[in-house]
Amino acid sequence: MVKRLLWVTTVCAAILFSAAMVYANPEAYHVGCAFAVTGKASWLGEPERNTVEMIARQINEAGGIDGHPLVLHIEDTQGDNTRAVNAVRKLIKKDKVCAIIGTSRSGTSMAAVPVATQSEIPMISCASAAVITTPVDQRKWVFKVGPDDSDAALNIFEHMKAHDISKVGIMTGTTGFGAAGREQLKEFASDYGISIVADETYNPTDTDMTAQLISIRKTEAQAVINWSIVPAQSIVSKNMQQLKMTIPLYQSHGFANVKYAEAAGDSAEGCIFPAGRIMAVDTLADDHPQKKVLKEYKQAYESTYDDHVSTFGGHAYDALWLVVNALKKVGPDAAKIRDELENTTFVGVGGIFEFSDKDHCGLDKEDFAILTVKDGKFVVLEP
């Protein structure tokens, strides 16, 4: 009996206490997040959700934003356009958020753009397609923290030009990411005096790329560019090794996942790809302006979750801190947050963001580092 009484009292006390907490701080800051936590793009949404939850915990344990607790409303878009639109609507109408972080994919972000614009709520997309924030005059309320595909392509071509490569064969996955990359590669190659002598594609479900590689081998290609984000891409380097092809292999930033390098084994050694610096933070020069933030994020993430840090979680990190910094300055007013974001310079995981009324992405091609694989790890490539 005594035990039971004690139990009831504890529960009541807990309820009262938590109620008191909520009412003592009526001005909690509500921020909405819409990520593809489940579904086919969950490898994007999962680290993003983990990251924002981790940061919100840190902030609230440290007393909130100037005393205001940060409340996150996280919705799962499942990587689906309709669900993304509904999620963003719910966040705006029901949860009354002052800013939205997400969505994870380019397609869902584009679907959510009109909703955020009409409701006049700032939205920071974690995807990378350039069209999300251009043309800027129609994207007043939309920002993004993912780097442009084209900047990755430019980085690859610049490296090639420096190494006298003028003929390349390209291999792209038949996903949205791969198809967009294929367009970018074709568009910018001629600017660098590089000609594409073979243009091959492969399915995400493909198990063997020998045929495509032989087609490339038949041409005079001096290098292969593999642009894809699906696990199947690690087969490309394996097949090249099997065919004893010795020309250099360039990968896209979609390769920036330690698991892909693990899967490709020693065949991935020496391949060249542009990626966010988070992937090679240990080999980054100590005086690099991003070094501190990257190291902190990596340590915090990897000690909280049993997982490797990824560039995608980094996007969520940047987006949430941008919003938190704006909240600190101007409070939970959507229009003021938007204006504040537009004038922000921020050193984040994805790079050094310099937003302006003409640029809602804030990153440029300098925010990619050229990396390579050495002993199964990503390292910064010495020029």
Partner: protein, 298 residues
């Protein structure tokens, strides 16, 4: 060596390697088709289970390849038996359509379970005997490809011996030809159905195990492998396992040549177009008998 010849040879090697897997999946389809008259849409999932189990046993528990191989096959065979006992056997009025829909449901369940257990990532394991490719008249061939082809030959040989020279195999064939007559002759047809699921799961598992070092395995691979294998089974004439082996290898080779000489963009389409043509011209498949086809329910 002439480079055009080397290319053809390389495409052939690649095609035979893919085709061997299609052939084994198709054999699995046929076994269950013969015993029950249905297409088991969970066939691709058996392949995935075999591959993933092998990854866990070799890379996680560091068992030897041979031991892990046997354990993985047994594991998937048990899964096949459970599937039959829990979902196919208890059905009161087993119409073909109903059973097929059940297999689709099972495939979704297995896929989900595999996702929960092994995660969404892609798993890889080391090759059976080194990953340095060997020279073969100018083309290159992975030792693993030799394993794939060799094990396909062993499976086919075992299949022939089992169905022609053992009593159980003969009983299964009897059930396939005429179930009622077989039952009258004292054959326990329900047990034969269970056995067919076990064997078909076993063949699927073998296919998954030998291909995993080359392609990596993830929980979602089953659908495509199943589809291609089904294509091979239809191409070879449903129910005709030797036809399925030839058709599977043929399909793989045509796919490889198509990808190499026509366009890699349409690789999957090529296989399906061939399948469509065969169905237009010879609906019973290349090696199937048109007469037998007419007598079957499905």
């Amino acid at each position: 060596m002439d480079s055009a010849f080397v290319d053809v040879l390389q495409f052939l090697i690649m095609g035979i390697q893919r085709g061997s897997i299609y052939a084994m999946v198709a054999m699995g389809f046929n076994m269950i088709y013969n015993a029950t008259g249905i297409i088991n849409f969970a066939q691709g999932e058996f392949v995935v289970l075999g591959g993933l189990m092998m990854v866990t046993l070799t890379m996680g528990f560091h068992l030897s390849i041979v031991f892990a191989f046997i354990l993985s096959v047994l594991f998937v065979m048990v899964a096949g038996i459970l599937m039959e006992r829990l979902t196919i056997n208890p059905v009161k009025q087993p119409s073909v359509l109903r059973l097929i829909i059940i297999t689709i449901a099972v495939s979704i369940i297995i896929k989900g379970a595999a996702m929960c257990f092994w995660g969404k990532g892609s798993h890889y394991m080391r090759h059976f005997s080194g990953s340095t490719s060997l020279d073969f008249y100018g083309a290159t061939i992975l030792p693993q490809t030799l394993w794939v082809v060799g094990i396909l030959c062993c499976v086919v040989a075992a299949y022939i011996v089992f169905f022609n020279y053992t009593m159980t195999g003969k009983c299964m064939r009897a059930c396939a030809i005429n179930r009622d007559a077989a039952r009258l002759a004292g054959i326990n047809d329900r047990k034969m159905v269970m056995l067919s699921f076990a064997l078909s799961a076993g063949i699927g598992a073998i296919a998954g195990i030998i291909i995993t070092p080359i392609i990596q395995m993830d929980y979602a691979r089953g659908a495509m492998l199943g589809l291609k294998g089904f294509g091979a089974a239809v191409l070879g004439g449903l129910g005709n396992s030797m036809g399925a082996v030839v058709a599977g290898v043929l399909l793989g080779v045509l796919e490889a040549l198509g990808a190499g000489y026509i366009s890699s963009h349409y690789m999957d389409a090529i296989a399906l177009i061939i399948l469509l043509f065969v169905l237009f011209i010879r609906p019973s498949g290349i090696f199937g008998s048109a007469e037998a086809m007419r007598l079957k329910e499905f």
